[in-house]
């Protein structure tokens, strides 16, 4: 399981109160109001040699404008070419000189802006970043390059059969949402600089703005910095919409394409309340969180059928989680590996995990989380992910303690009650024979025939 995925999925409170003394000993973000009335979450680390300000924005543009679903992705890339009155090259070199970074990224329904710099330079770095959002260059030539790169990038992605299988799964299960197609070159080709500008104006606003700051500076000195940076954003933007829930058909789909391996992706919904997410993570870690976990032992260790197989919990949007298993398999062992993976999954779901296994998973997840939040960036990312799904600072601070307290009985109850009985299976294989396909296709677009 990738720690970044676990990281994005894990910030939820759950049963188990801690003593006040213990809570005080934890590193906890403080809610601060700036002189200008903006709210931000602040954590001071006096010894930190980097400072981070991270801002999250709700982004429903792709849902609201189905004819321009690629605008957020294209827009984030285009904005990174810098503000209006400076060349992209000099913008990047100035950032390097200041050892500063300015990042803009998008995910389904969410856009993020990150400024990082040495503690004394964070104000300047943040100002530079905000200029990118407020006064972007939006050069036509840069947009043309992005469109060409999208074609190249897509071709390269399709060389990875597991990535191709994932794309197919997204199209199959998210027919009602644009996120499975928003990197398609055809969609990217439709985007204009005017579209990017509209996306920018509708998304980067103070409406629902979430700001997190970690570094050596105290809250009082950061307040005016944040006011200055974010004051230029408009008060309100586009409508906020909810993404339609994905649908996971009980089917096996095979995309036939010649290749040296058979890619396999299996997914199913995890309909659990937010406070159960860490419980699910423990269970899924036992299933496929590393070399010594069940799937790897069976498919790699016993069969020698793969270099790697893993499982994870993926957060698509608030309230929408799914379980994922992915691997690239030897062609001649694909059928046997698929059968074995399903056996392992069923046993895991129905019989549960052992106390020892749960203990190892807890230790690994806790260790991974603690390692990730050692850096200011990691700590800020954790907090922003939490805010995104409506959780609080104490949930973030107490996460590891609560994770370690989850009993194995809770894990096994969740697996029995909530792990999907059947997983949607997508394979990219040279030959569909022997794989039990319900639907065989030869192009991505044909997936509509398989629903």
């Amino acid at each position: 399981m990738s720690f970044k995925r676990a990281f994005a999925a894990l910030f939820f409170s759950f049963v188990g109160a801690l003593s006040p003394a213990r809570v005080l000993a934890l590193e906890t973000f403080q809610r601060v109001t700036t002189p200008g009335g903006l709210v931000f979450w602040h954590l001071q680390r006096p010894d930190a040699d980097r400072a981070v300000v991270m801002a999250g924005f709700n982004d429903s543009f792709a849902l609201a404008h189905p004819d321009r679903i690629a605008a957020p992705n294209v827009g984030a890339t285009l904005l990174r070419h810098g503000p209006r009155d400076i060349s992209a090259g000099e913008f990047n070199e100035q950032l390097k000189d200041a050892r500063a970074q300015c990042g803009i990224s998008t995910a389904p329904l969410f856009a993020t802006l990150v400024a990082q710099a040495a503690p004394g330079d964070i104000g300047e770095a943040l100002d530079l970043c905000m200029r990118v959002v407020v006064e972007p260059a939006l050069r036509e030539r840069d947009l043309e390059h992005i469109k060409r790169d999208a074609v190249v990038g897509r071709q390269r992605l399709e060389e990875n059969r597991e990535a191709l299988a994932s794309m197919l799964m997204r199209r199959l299960t998210q027919a009602g949402a644009p996120f499975g197609r928003w990197n398609d070159p055809d969609e990217v080709a439709r985007v204009s600089t005017a579209d990017v500008d509209q996306w920018r104006r509708e998304t980067f606003t103070r409406d629902g703005l979430m700001i997190v700051a970690v570094g050596a500076s105290d809250a009082a000195s950061l307040g005016p910095v944040i006011d200055r940076a974010f004051a230029r954003l408009p008060a309100a933007g586009g409508a906020r919409l909810a993404a339609p829930a994905p649908a996971f058909p009980d089917k096996t789909i095979v995309l036939e394409k010649p290749g040296a391996q058979t890619a396999m992706v299996m997914e199913g919904p995890l309909d659990i309340p937010p406070d159960q997410a860490p419980v699910a993570l423990i269970g899924v870690n036992v299933l496929g969180g590393g070399l010594d976990r069940r799937l790897s032992k069976a498919v790699r260790g016993e069969l020698g059928a793969t270099y790697g197989i893993s499982s994870s919990v993926v957060l698509l949007a608030p309230g929408q989680r799914y379980l994922r298993i992915g691997s690239a398999l030897a062609n001649d062992l694909a059928a046997a590996a698929l059968k074995r993976a399903r056996e392992v999954y069923d046993a895991w779901r129905l019989d549960g995990v052992t106390d020892e296994e749960a203990g190892s998973a807890r230790a690994q997840l806790a260790s991974g989380f603690e390692r990730n939040v050692e850096t200011p960036y990691g700590k800020a990312f954790a907090m922003l992910s939490l805010l995104r799904v409506g959780r609080t600072a104490s949930d973030e601070a107490e996460y590891v303690e609560r994770l370690r307290a989850i009993p194995v009985e809770s894990v096994n109850r969740l697996l029995r009650e909530k792990a999907p009985a059947r997983l949607t299976t997508v394979l990219v294989a040279s030959d569909a024979a022997g794989l039990g396909a319900d639907c065989v296709i030869h192009e991505l677009a044909e997936v509509d025939n398989c629903r």
């Binding site: 990047n92 050892r99 060409r148 897509r154 391996q261 070399l291 020698g304 270099y307 690994q364």
Partner: protein, 455 residues
């Protein structure tokens, strides 16, 4: 002798840079080949073992993938004496390894548990010492692991036309050197791996005299030193075999070849320009630092950089970058990659690249730009030296490229000594004749086509 002190202020730092002294960091050397990077805030203990043997140390100087197969085998055959350590480390921690041309690196991370940290550290040392001493994987597991390696090969490169094209270019450039051979080996090689061959490689190269250990976490040098004595220094001494061919070019007749490749997986025309040059004149001892600064410049967006000239100025490419392959003193192997703008002929780009380096050799790199880049490097070295996590990453990467610790320690002074004049011999070599292959990748609907021409 390792001199240990700490820079407390920026003023001291600047003084050190001015005087060219080595910049001391957080790492401590506790034995000839054992280093400790203490980090009181760390939540994990990590132990690295870097064996200075990679695929180019394989038999007859040919890279067949045996070193990489051995890396896989090292995780098998968990004997009874290692069982308790293994189950703990694999279950609760993280472990991984990787093989390169020059080294095979292993690491294990476990949560740092206050009550048992000493015991855990000892188990880690015991584990690595055992692996260094012997290799006994079960036969059936070793056979299955061959297939796992084959799957890794398939996953990483089998379906990639681009990877195969890259190998073909390197083969044209240096047909007698293992540099063009993939570390993982070829499909036919993988199928023929034997445990006996892996054991022979282990016997030849895996020894305490050929390995470096780096320990990171909330541990002190005083914690680690006794373990180094008990587990590493008691391993048998074994002289490291000679590597007469190391970094020696096999073929250096001048060449100017072109290779074209077309495939349905290629969406836009791109070029890959490989060139080897040698320095006909004396070059400063600190050539790596000079190369680093030069390539920082070439890859920047500063005036006169590749991007500034080819993307913004001449508009021949949508993106361009240059990289270099380490090859030892007196040799530079560079690779320029560029995605061409619509309608630009590859030959036009080739001519322009040659002209670019000729002109750059004549005018040199501006002093102000060199100083700007040096400031960045100096700041980077300083930050690494003060940050245990970054020190761990930087030091292990350095050792994994067979770098010497003494050279790592003096990085700051090496960068400080670079001037435009230092770069001049390098630029003159890159602007002159050499041994080069110009690769062109083009889109093609349908069948693949490979055309080679040379002059």
């Amino acid at each position: 002798m390792f001199v240990r002190f700490r820079t407390a202020t920026l003023g001291v730092l600047l003084a050190c840079l001015t005087l060219g002294r080595a910049l001391a960091g957080v790492e401590v050397r506790v034995a000839d080949n054992v280093f400790v990077v203490p980090d009181p805030k760390a939540k994990v203990i990590t132990v690295w073992m870097i064996v200075k043997a990679g695929c180019r140390d394989e038999e007859a100087g040919q890279c067949r993938g045996l070193a990489h197969y051995l890396e896989h085998l090292m995780f098998l055959g968990r004997g009874a004496e290692q069982a308790s350590a293994q189950s703990m480390f694999f279950a609760a921690g993280q472990t991984n390894a990787f093989t390169s041309m020059r080294a095979t690196s292993y690491y294990q991370s476990v949560p740092a548990r206050e009550a048992t940290i000493g015991l855990d550290l000892e188990k880690l040392f015991s584990l690595f010492a055992h692996r260094l001493r012997e290799l006994n994987p079960p036969e059936d597991a070793a056979r299955r692991e061959r297939n796992v390696v084959l799957q890794e090969f398939n996953y990483r490169q089998s379906d990639s036309f681009r990877v195969r094209f890259n190998t073909e270019l390197n083969t044209m450039l240096e047909p007698e050197h293992p540099i063009h051979q993939p570390v993982i080996g070829a499909r036919a090689d993988i199928a023929n791996f034997t445990v006996e061959a892996a054991r022979a490689f282990h016997e030849r190269w895996y020894s305490r005299d050929n390995a470096i250990f780096v320990v990171y976490g909330p541990v002190s040098p005083a914690d680690v030193r006794p373990l180094a004595v008990k587990y590493i220094e008691t391993l048998p001494e074994k002289p490291v075999p000679g590597r007469a061919w190391l970094d020696a070019l096999r073929t250096f007749e001048p060449m100017d070849a072109t290779r074209q490749g077309a495939d349905a997986s290629i969406a836009r025309t791109s070029i890959q320009f490989e060139k080897i040059v040698r320095f006909a004149e004396p070059f400063p001892d600190r050539s790596d630092a000079a190369s680093d600064i030069l390539f920082d410049y070439l890859n920047s967006e500063m005036e006169g950089s590749l991007s500034d000239v080819f993307v913004e100025g001449k508009r021949l490419a949508t993106g361009v970058e240059i990289s270099r392959t380490p090859f030892g003193q007196g040799v530079m192997w560079s690779t320029v990659r560029a995605n061409l703008e619509e309608g630009v002929a590859p030959e036009t780009m080739k001519t322009a690249i040659a002209a670019y380096f000729r002109e750059l050799a004549q005018k040199g790199v501006d002093d102000a730009m060199v100083e700007r880049l040096k400031r960045r490097r100096a700041r980077d070295v300083k930050e690494i030296s003060n940050d245990p996590r970054r020190t761990l990453a930087d030091l292990t990467a350095w050792f994994s490229e067979s770098g010497a610790y003494a050279d790592w320690q003096k990085r700051a002074e090496d960068f400080a000594s670079v001037t435009p004049q230092t770069l001049a011999p390098l630029l003159r070599a890159m602007g002159g004749p050499g041994r080069q292959v110009f690769g062109v990748l083009e889109p093609l609907e349908g069948a693949r086509r490979m055309v080679e021409s040379s002059q």
